[in-house]
């Protein structure tokens, strides 16, 4: 029956405009990712899947993107993503393919004094960009942390304003880096880590540790960048941080990439 239906997308186009990207966005699909302790986390991916489109074709076949995801569902990782990207390139007769998957991921945290455990959400992303001879894969994490303002502490007789902050780290690597490692790097760069579950003795520890360790948003990205610069596994990185300033309704922001350090 399909054969009888006109295939408009495969028709010619005479506007002489090749497209950089054509595909689907906002596609939500169940996926499974592996964590460092070799356990599987079933989670929900939000996908952007695109290919380039030469000028002579009218359209792409959008259903093939979903078909590729359906075939590849099950384990999804930076190791299996090359297959998905290649599959797209091949089946859509494209020169370039691009896949971005964002997903919530949970890391187990033990509170610093009581040791009580809980699960902290970290938003992550995998990105694959492939051409015929080259492919780039990027891992990203958005780590929630706490920052105390050094200026506020220095000029005030008591107290110091602090806030929830987000450190967003994207890396490309020569050798595997775990999400958990990036979380640890971000937490070490901040005034203190965040924990879903804290008893009073833990709250005292977090309050004092963060007060003893104030960082500006500039320090947060620099501390992370310094660690990534010295890690031989890391080929490329980009780091952004945002402080949800408790004394304002806007956020403070800083960004630095490996290219800025060359």
């Amino acid at each position: 029956m399909t054969d009888a239906l006109e295939d408009i997308q495969s028709g010619p186009d005479d506007r002489n405009i090749p497209l950089r990207q054509v595909g689907v966005v906002g596609l939500r699909y169940p996926v499974t990712v592996w964590d460092r302790s070799s356990e599987r986390q079933q989670t929900v991916g939000t996908f952007k899947l695109t290919v380039d489109l030469p000028h002579q074709f009218k359209g792409t076949h959008m259903s093939r993107f979903v078909a590729a995801l359906e075939r590849h569902r099950g384990e999804m990782s930076l190791e299996t993503m090359p297959e998905l990207v290649d599959d797209l390139r091949t089946r859509l007769d494209a020169e370039r393919a691009h896949v971005r998957m964002e997903f919530p991921y949970f890391v187990r945290k033990a509170a610093p004094v009581s040791g009580v455990e809980s699960a902290l959400e970290v938003r992550c992303w995998f990105v694959g960009d492939a051409e015929e001879r080259e492919a780039l894969f990027t891992l990203g994490v958005d780590v929630p942390v706490m920052t105390v303002c050094p200026c506020s502490r220095a000029i005030s007789d008591r107290g110091a304003h602090c806030q929830r902050s987000h450190a967003r780290i994207s890396v490309r690597f020569r050798e595997l880096v775990w999400i958990e490692e990036l979380v640890e790097i971000a937490e070490a760069a901040a005034s203190a880590p965040l924990y879903p579950f804290l008893k009073r003795e833990d709250e005292k520890w977090v309050t004092e540790r963060s007060y003893d360790n104030p960082v500006f948003v500039e320090d947060l990205v620099r501390n992370i960048a310094a660690r990534l610069r010295d890690d031989a596994r890391i080929q490329w990185f980009y780091v952004e941080a945002e402080n949800e300033e408790s004394i304002h309704t806007h956020n403070a922001y800083a960004a630095v990439g490996s290219a800025d350090l060359e």
Copy 2:
């Protein structure tokens, strides 16, 4: 060590203002839910957990909400939720407890002609409200469907505007109703169901079926309400629908509850 730390929250309060709700919101936690085919889906819950607070107490112990969730993680369903709500009430010495969990859930869909399979996301929620002698549990689903406008079809010589719509159904029941059943009720009430993966022959089917079956947003909620009214298992319901009008940037909206039919 904890004992040495002052417990401010348990201190007295003299403003004579009892609080209706105190607790945590926006808490994201991994959960597992069961589907109709007896398989487990691991997903991500977004929680609101609250209790009431009598006027004489200064505050509640927020960490206990996370502790309750940590103890109860694993299977979460309308059958296990009573335990979580009761646990909150007891451990927080409260008269009333309220739990709301929203989560993405996937149903397998077979395309109408080709039969190709894919996974459709349905946003769901479980709500539990418990007092000493009474507890109410609510199941909710937000089902994406397609609607064709009857007016546009009737007045136009060709075509008819259509759009993505959302049917949001909340029910309380005497006997278990599955998420999948509510999805089917919403889909039958619309012009056509949605599918992540459609081949050309399926797209033809969906286009023609929806054109043959136009419904206003008013029809969508009435069709659903009529089905729920006649289902002896359903004790209470509330139905809302929103059409993402393709000819406007605002949405059309309709709502009806079981109380309106009495």
Copy 3:
């Protein structure tokens, strides 16, 4: 020409299901509101406009909602809103009409020490619910403020965690209450107000004042409720607050209404 086009919405319906609400949502429209200093603020309203629909009618005329808004644009206030709500009821032959308008509003703030001025955004809403013999009008504001945790301060040797918080206040009144008054009530109930523009001497003041004045989320709503309870102009209120806890990724929440104090 219109006359020749079939009016499907006015047709009969035999499902015997009256609808509680039918209308439009997510409609964005330019509006002008008045502030306390008698100046006009042009801003953007996000509207929900609905009426009830008796069981015997198939549908409502959605375009009339936009028409009503178009006629009433220009000044929008709790004083002009009754006209808009009445207009909807009359033109749509309904028994009940409901209008909700949310909008960003700016209040001028002078920094506490330097006196430098800036504009603070406060999200507001007007709600009108009218039946033939009764109409209720509600004013709401979402005021961003700062809170310092009393527990963290009491148990820690130095510092105290603090965060951005939101106090959401809805009121119905016998005599006009200005948005600016509700903002002041919320700010006085918190550890400190927020300011877009602070010099160093102001930051010192905010840090110290908030540290000297710690409040739980429970205190924030109780302080507001106590003020509203004692204000003879206020007929009804509902107060919610959310603390964007800097030591967690979830928020603390509390709510109380005038009904809880009776």
Copy 4:
């Protein structure tokens, strides 16, 4: 008093990491923009304001960004933006400054047959990137339009699925281009424009016109790109479009920039 307070941000930093961007994000401020008919629209800008930071400085002075905005509020346009960007560069001793302002903007629309008027929201953005010797200014618009699927129309015996789409156009120009012109280009490239207010005769027109003029998401961006390519005022452009597919829950996407046509 200020002089007595330590200026930590101006202190030295020895990590040898220059920052690409430091500043504030999510800052909401009232602004006034001019429309083609020489009327002023007061609206709400959401700002990102950043500068670079040389490696030897510990931090930037965040309050100066808000101060710059406070000084420049009043008229904001692509003509006045260079002053704001220059002001930031100078006052923050930076080599580069970046300003992004997003804002809702309303264009008056007359319905195609009845001529009834209403206001359509178009989300816009101004971006300024300045270095010592070069400055780039970008105007962007997100235009909501309607698309009918050519494939669905061709293969179906009746009807065709359609949806709300968004065309996002960014341009840099040699000579002023109005927001209203970009809106018209996007609308002409789609199956039909959107209108907040349509009478029945208008709805018939929109339904038939869109059915007669089906476009894929690929066509939408190509039609726009072809127009911009031929406009001598346009120096650079980037066009994206997203179709909120009424038969799926994900969106179709296409993108092309002037660089792809060289």
